[in-house]
């Protein structure tokens, strides 16, 4: 019995240590944002400092709000586009029998296997030729067709919407778009929420695509803005850390609030696949 107890204690210690290591970098980031830049190099910043207001001023004076707005626009429009196209094709594949269904299904699976970087150069040149090169469009349009989303929606709709319900609606004379909007979408709310949070997160954190498409500061998104803050102005690490905190913490809070749905979304692909 004693050995089992020791094992259990050890397990708890390990769990707590690993969790602390997960949180520690966040703590350091938050604390650093409250210190005077030059003080950061004098010692280990363990306790919060009292320079928060001044750092905030530095960050705000660098157009932080308009960059924040850019990131919000990109993420929200991406979410709308990606969930819309995914849900529509998901509904078609899960609930209709039609010629070419098998082929279309294979097509969706194949799209999941092509990494976006393979077409990156072609995509950027295409965007330039369309005349939207150095704007927010390239970072948004890449989400217009989201293969994982389509795959996820096929699975979700197949499992969650009873065929009888659709049949009843048809007999009652509801039009096909009407069925989609009034019956399918309401039942799908949990699936939509999951997909929406995933797309939001991935487009919010996206680094590579904005890095190579956007070089006008008025169209910067948060990741690009922060990696340039301090190179353009004076090297103010404290301000950068504060900007990072302001970028990261809202997403973390959103995640903690909706963590139940979120976990389901993250795991949905794995358990079935």
């Amino acid at each position: 019995m004693n050995a089992a107890k020791t094992a259990k204690t050890l397990m708890w210690i390990c769990l707590v240590v690993i969790s602390a290591l997960s949180l520690f970098p966040f703590y350091i980031m938050i604390v650093m944002g409250t210190h005077y830049n030059e003080d950061l190099f004098k010692g280990i910043p363990i306790l919060p400092g009292d320079y928060l207001a001044d750092n905030l001023k530095t960050v705000m004076s660098a157009d932080f709000m308009s960059v924040y707005l850019n990131s919000l626009i990109v993420s929200v429009v991406s979410v709308v586009l990606a969930t819309l196209t995914s849900t529509l094709i998901g509904y078609a594949l899960a609930k209709f029998e039609f010629r070419g269904r098998k082929a279309l299904q294979t097509f969706v699976v194949l799209t999941m296997m092509v990494p976006t970087q393979v077409g990156l150069i072609g995509y950027i040149i295409e965007m330039r030729n369309l005349g939207v090169g150095n704007t927010l469009w390239p970072v948004i349009l890449v989400w217009a067709a989201f293969p994982f989303g389509a795959f996820f929606m096929v699975q979700f709709i197949r499992d969650s919407i009873p065929n009888d319900l659709l049949e009843c609606a048809r007999i009652d004379g509801c039009s096909e778009p009407g069925i989609f909007v009034r019956i399918v979408l309401p039942i799908m709310k949990p699936g939509l929420a999951t997909l929406a949070t995933l797309v939001f997160l991935w487009s919010w954190n996206n680094y590579l695509l904005p890095l190579v498409t956007i070089n006008k500061s008025e169209w910067y998104t948060l990741p690009i803005f922060i990696s340039n803050l301090g190179i353009v102005h004076r090297t103010d690490y404290a301000a950068r850390m504060l900007a990072l905190t302001l970028t990261t913490v809202p997403v973390l809070i959103l995640f903690v609030l909706g963590s139940k749905t979120f976990m389901k979304g993250l795991t949905a692909g794995a358990v079935k696949g």
Binding site: I18, P115, G122, R240, T247
Partner: protein, 295 residues
């Protein structure tokens, strides 16, 4: 007619914004083009040059594979153990889950900054602690050491993905029927034995999924190394010390958008990586999938 209409937006968007660029990139990879002057068709010369006469590309591929070997097995083992422990908890399960997934949802920019601060030579917290406790005489130059830089990038990836691996394993554990465990208990199987003989084999599909996806993701490693060297220090050092942290995608981005604008050549890097990804995905599936599936 309706199913076709419903499928149309996705298909059109995919064709326009992903399929077309992928095909166009392939055409470009057969040309010599800097984005401004005339395109010249040169056949497969870019590929030949890349594979026979570009030591930096081979090195970037090598670096990527080494770093993957460092982080994939470790994340798998740690993630599985962590999941097994957390799964057995009667209280605090959700708390541990949530805390450990936080790194996964954090922007890579933050991760790059935080790690390059922590491991900075003079001001970094890690060196300060190591010297304070007397384990080191003076600070170690982590980011300028060939193996140090790779190890730190691997550490960043592990830190970021551990929680994700953990919840995926836990999702797999919830699917295992409880009576299997009951039966094992009746037969006198306990603790480690149950874990090795029952939990691990039944998690096979999940493990295959994680191995294959992390091989695919690992070959596309870019954000972590790039941000580790482009963030904190402010010096935009390409590839880290003596290019030991240069990954394939970093090389690709550098050739096409940062140091150069060799669009044709860079496209041949992207396509070569694509082929490598397909090859390694099949290989890792073959190596990890249960035997019955191979027939």
């Amino acid at each position: 007619m309706w199913p076709y209409l419903f499928a149309l937006p996705f298909v059109l968007a995919y064709a326009a914004f992903q399929l077309y660029p992928v095909i166009y990139s392939f055409v470009l990879s057969l040309h010599d083009w800097n984005g401004i002057s005339e395109k010249t068709y040169i056949g497969f010369k870019n590929y030949v040059q890349l594979w026979t006469n570009d030591p930096l590309f081979i090195k970037s591929l090598w670096n990527t594979l080494i770093m993957m070997l460092m982080f994939i097995p470790l994340t798998l083992i740690l993630g599985l153990v962590l999941a097994y422990w957390t799964f057995q908890l009667t209280r605090g399960k959700r708390l541990f889950q949530t805390i450990n997934v936080l790194p996964y949802i954090t922007t890579p920019v933050a991760i790059g900054f935080i790690f390059s601060y922590l491991f900075d030579w003079q001001t970094g917290l890690v060196n300060l602690l190591l010297t304070k406790f007397g384990w080191l005489q003076e600070g170690f130059y982590w980011l300028q050491d060939p193996w140090g830089s790779r190890a730190i990038i691997a550490l960043m990836v592990i830190w970021r993905n551990l929680g994700y691996f953990m919840i995926i394993f836990m999702a797999g554990m919830t699917v295992i029927p409880q009576d299997v465990y009951e039966a094992a208990k009746m037969d006198g199987s306990t603790g480690l034995h149950t874990f090795r003989k029952i939990t691990m084999p039944l998690l096979r599909n999940i493990t295959v999924f994680l191995v294959v996806t992390s091989v695919i993701g690992g070959l596309q490693l870019f954000d972590e190394p790039k941000l580790l060297y482009g963030g904190w220090s402010g010096s935009a050092q390409v590839g880290g010390p003596d290019n030991t942290a240069l990954t394939v995608i970093w090389k690709f981005v550098d050739e096409s958008f940062i140091s150069n604008t060799r669009f044709g050549y860079a496209s041949s890097i992207a396509y070569s990586l694509f082929v490598i990804i397909v090859f390694f995905s099949i290989l890792s599936y073959r190596l990890t999938a249960p035997k019955e599936d191979k027939r």
